[in-house]
Every structure is written in structure tokens, then in C-alpha cells.
Amino acid sequence: MKIDQETIERVAANARLQLTPLEKKQYLKDLQDILSAFEKLAECNTDKVQTSIQPIPLSDVFRDDIEKECLSQDDALSLTKHSKNGYFKGPKAL
């Protein structure tokens, strides 16, 4: 399957990955190779076939609306150094 450099860049940007020029070249080749194999799926007739979200039929799993113990603020913040006054710190959002 033919895809171009612009497509790789778009997909990488969507996934928040910065690729070096070498990586772009390599992944372009890899993706073309692999996607061409994926294209084989088109030969399989799937008219009127339902998709399988899981391989076992599963349905109707719920939880009751009952409060359970949650983490303490300290525990929640313990896994990062990016915190301040009980808040998580994140990168600039504007």
C-alpha cells in the first residue's frame, strides 16, 4: 500500500511522536510493507458479519452506585514530583 511522508508525519503528530528524518524513512518503509499485508483482509467477505469487540460473547456487566474507599490525596500524588498544594502539575494548557 502506498503512503507518503506527509501521512507518516500526520499519524506521528496525532500520536504525539517526534520522528527523526531517519525514523520517518524507516517507518514509512515498514508501514508500507505491513499495511500491504493488512490489505489482504479486503479479500475476506464479511457481508452481514457482526464485529467482535471481545472473542467471547459478553454483555450487561454493571456496578451498583455505591461509594467505595478511594485513594488519599497523598497516595494519589506520591507517584510524581509534578504536584503542588494538592494539585497535579501538568504542562501549559493554553
Binding site: N14, I53, L58, R63, I66, C70, S72, F88, G90, A93
Partner: protein, 462 residues
């Protein structure tokens, strides 16, 4: 059909009033930051979502209340995009198949606003912007929301405001939304004929009054732009309420591709006919039906009925009062006077009971007190409730109907205000009202205008 000048559609996000979040058992009511969080709503690797049954029930309730078709089987999807308020950088929502579709809300004019879809999704965390970083509180992360989308069939900002008001009324009846702490946010898409309906989306407007303001501003902005020969670009703008303007948000070079997939951690949910029936049975009588019933049953004014039916507590109050006092008068007074009080506090906070109101309305009905006295008593009831009957007696507020006393007071008023008399005789109606006002002042509002008017007229003619 004539093409409208303006097309407005709304996308509304309603926070559901459940005890716990959509996919985890953390409380929905927390205050100090990050104190109602767990591995699931923090997006810790290894955690998995489990669906809160109550949210499906609430969703079906709202769908039925809005006359929607409820789908027999629903799934959840992942909408992937990156932002600092996202705990997983994908939102669990419903995409391919919503919970309900093809509903409607009728406006007072009779016009029906079509609701294309209604679905469940999780809220992201709350974000505070600082200069060089952001502060994130995950208490909000995972809170259950219903997203409701209308067709772009509203044609004025007022219609949009009315739609939101009606929607909120229904939510109040269903008790699936916390009126004090819950939030309702809307995005509005607005387009005008002059630009060939090039759609602009205004995001994150809070409150139905702001919705009207924002849309009004945007229509004006677009019209002015067209006059200046500027192109209306399809874009997303944010509503800046304090400034009263919309401003463009980050222009994206390409629209974020959300790459939807079914969420494989969650399973298909069946909405059976039996389940729908059990939910339908729990539905309260909703505003449209209730209003029609009030008119039929109590013969009250249609507009009064519509207004008082919009709020379940007010409607219940009316029905209680109508058992004891004149329903037509009660409806009128509740609509005009009680609602004034309710603009500053809730009915519960006011502690006004049907007994208080019934007493008052009976006095007014019998003409035992004047309208003005009635209004004053209503105002006082709003501050702290009391028995109107006792109050009237104690303060001697009965309407003055004794004609001798009134004749004397009218004569005094005429004698004391010769220039007003002259003006009235010269044709100024306002001067007459001035004289009536003087008599009312002398009686501290207890004179019945219908009695003193002929007296003054007679005196003046002399």
C-alpha cells in the same frame, strides 16, 4: 418553506447526580483537590473501568422524557486525544450508537426542537491555567455526563434560551441533576444566511442566560464581518462571559482525528423492553402534560399554567393551594409574585407553605384586602413566613370599604391638590391617578381603588 436567517444548534453536557462516577466507585461529591480519586479515574496502568448501572437508568429516563427512541443495545467507544485534563488521553464515550435518538422538546410557541442524539460519557479532570504550567484536579475525572445534541433548528437566541430552560425544567422533574452543585454546559453552533450558513461553534457556555447572550453576540459579529466582506471561517470560538465576546480558540491545522474504536474493556449493554417499562413507570408527570392537566382541571390561564408547571415544587405547591383557594387567582399570583421570591431563594429555604399562600389568596379573593396589600404581604412572606390572616388583623390592614370614611378622604385629597384637579379636567389622565394615589397614601394602601375611583370622579365634576 422560507429559509431561516439564523440556524442554531446546541450540544449540551449535563452532569448526572449519581453518588459515584461513571466507571469507578469514587464519590462524585468532593471538595479538596484530588481527594476523590482512584487508579481508574487517575488512569493508572492496569486499572479497568466498570459501568455504573444508575447512569444507564438516568440516561433512559431522560431519553423517555424527551420522547426519544431508546436503542436496544449500546456500546462504549474510545475517543483518543491528548490534553492535560485527560486521565487516559482517551475519553470513554458513545460514538457509533448513542443511548437514545430522535427526541424533541416543544417550545411555548408550539415549535418542536429535534434532539438528534443523547449519550453517556465521562468528564475530564478540572484544569486551572497558570503561566508556565497547569494545575489539575482529578475529582472531576470520570464524573458521568449526558451529552445531548439538537438539530440546528433554532432560529433566534431566544429560542435557544427557551430550549435550555425547558430542558432544565425536565431535569428538575426527573431528579437526575443536582440543581445546586451540578453544571450544565453547552456548545452552540451558529450560522447565518449571509455567509451561506458557514458554521461557527462556540464552546463551553455555562447557564441558559449566557447562551442567549453568546448567540446574540455571535450573530451580530458574523453579520458585521459579512458586511466588511470578511469570510466566515468554520472554526471553534470560546465564550468570554466577563467581556461578553467570543474569541477564536487555537486554530487547528487539521482537525484532530479521534480514531474511534469500541472500548474493549467494556461490554455491550442491552436495554430491554422490560427495563424501559420499569423506568417509564417511575417517570413523574412532566411539564407539558401537567400544564395541560392544570388548564383542564382548574381552568387556569394557559400561560400561568406553563410557567408554574416548569418547576416541580412550584407546581406541587399550586396543586395544594388550589384545593383551598381560588385556583385561577392562585395560579396568577403564584406566577407573578411567588416566582419573584424564588429568584433569590428556593421554596424550601423560604419555608412558605400552601397554608400561608391559601390564606393570603382567600383574603385577596374576598377583596378583604387590596391587591397592593396582597403584594406587600407576599414580599414579607418571602423574608420570613407568617399567617397572613393574623397579620392583617394585627396590623389592621383590612381594605377600607366604609364609604363615609372614603368620601371624606377623597374630598380631602381633591381639596389639597387643586392643580391636579385642574390638569385632570384639562384632559390629563395621569393627574387622576395622582389623586387616587393620594387617597391610597392616606389609607396606607388599604383603600379599594374600585370604590374610590367613582367617588373622586363625582367630586371632581362638582
Amino acid at each position: 418553506m422560507k429559509t431561516p436567517d439564523i440556524m442554531i444548534g446546541l450540544e449540551v453536557h449535563i452532569q448526572l447526580d449519581t453518588k459515584t462516577k461513571l466507571f469507578c466507585s469514587c464519590s462524585t461529591k468532593a471538595h479538596a483537590p484530588n481527594t476523590s480519586v482512584c487508579p481508574v479515574c487517575l488512569g493508572h496502568p492496569g486499572s479497568k473501568p466498570v459501568l455504573n448501572k444508575k447512569t444507564v437508568e438516568f440516561g433512559v429516563m431522560l431519553g423517555l422524557a424527551l420522547n426519544c427512541d431508546i436503542l436496544p443495545a449500546i456500546n462504549f467507544s474510545r475517543k483518543t486525544y491528548f490534553y492535560p485534563d485527560m486521565s487516559k488521553n482517551y475519553q470513554i464515550t458513545q460514538y457509533e450508537v448513542p443511548l437514545a435518538q430522535k427526541g424533541k422538546i416543544a417550545l411555548d410557541s408550539g415549535k418542536e426542537i429535534s434532539i438528534s442524539r443523547l449519550h453517556l460519557e465521562e468528564d475530564p479532570a478540572s484544569l486551572e491555567h497558570k503561566d508556565e504550567f497547569s494545575l489539575v484536579d482529578y475529582n472531576r475525572s470520570g464524573i458521568p455526563l449526558i451529552e445531548l445534541v439538537t438539530e440546528p433548528v433554532m432560529n433566534t437566541p431566544d429560542e435557544a434560551r427557551e430550549f435550555m430552560k425547558k430542558l432544565l425544567g425536565i431535569l428538575r422533574y426527573l431528579k437526575i441533576f443536582d440543581m445546586t452543585e451540578g453544571t450544565v454546559k453547552a456548545d452552540a453552533n451558529v450560522s447565518i444566511k449571509e455567509s451561506n450558513f458557514s458554521r461557527v461553534e462556540i464552546k463551553n457556555i455555562t447557564g441558559f442566560r449566557e447562551i442567549e447572550r453568546a448567540i446574540e453576540y455571535e450573530v451580530q459579529r458574523q453579520r458585521e464581518a459579512v458586511k466588511k466582506n470578511e469570510k466566515i471561517v468554520r472554526e471553534t470560538r470560546g465564550w468570554d462571559a466577563p467581556q461578553g465576546i467570543t474569541r477564536p480558540q487555537r486554530l487547528k491545522e487539521t482537525e484532530e482525528d479521534y480514531g474511534y474504536i469500541f472500548d474493549p474493556d467494556l461490554v455491550t449493554i442491552s436495554i430491554t423492553a422490560a427495563f424501559k417499562k420499569s423506568v417509564a413507570e417511575k417517570l413523574p408527570e412532566l411539564p407539558v402534560k401537567k400544564s395541560a392537566r392544570f388548564v383542564k382541571q382548574f381552568k387556569i390561564d394557559a400561560v400561568d399554567s406553563q410557567v408554574i408547571s416548569a418547576d416541580p415544587e412550584v407546581a406541587a405547591m399550586f396543586e395544594e393551594v388550589a384545593k383551598k383557594a381560588n385556583p385561577i387567582l392562585s395560579a396568577h399570583w403564584i406566577r407573578r409574585e411567588l416566582l419573584k421570591i424564588l429568584s433569590t431563594k428556593s421554596l424550601a429555604e423560604s419555608k412558605i407553605t400552601s397554608q400561608h399562600l391559601a390564606e393570603l389568596f382567600i383574603l385577596i379573593d374576598k377583596k378583604a384586602i387590596t391587591q397592593r396589600t396582597g403584594q406587600e404581604i407576599m414580599q414579607k412572606l418571602g423574608e420570613k413566613p407568617f399567617s397572613p390572616k393574623d397579620f392583617v388583623e394585627k396590623h389592621g390592614l383590612s381594605a377600607v370599604a366604609d364609604s363615609h370614611e372614603l368620601e371624606k378622604l377623597c374630598a380631602d385629597a381633591v381639596k389639597e391638590n387643586p392643580s391636579a384637579v385642574k390638569d385632570y379636567l384639562a384632559g390629563e389622565e395621569k393627574a387622576f391617578n395622582f389623586l387616587v394615589g393620594k387617597v391610597m397614601a392616606k389609607t396606607k394602601g388599604r383603600a379599594r381603588p374600585d370604590i374610590i375611583t367613582p367617588i373622586i370622579k363625582k367630586l371632581v365634576k362638582k
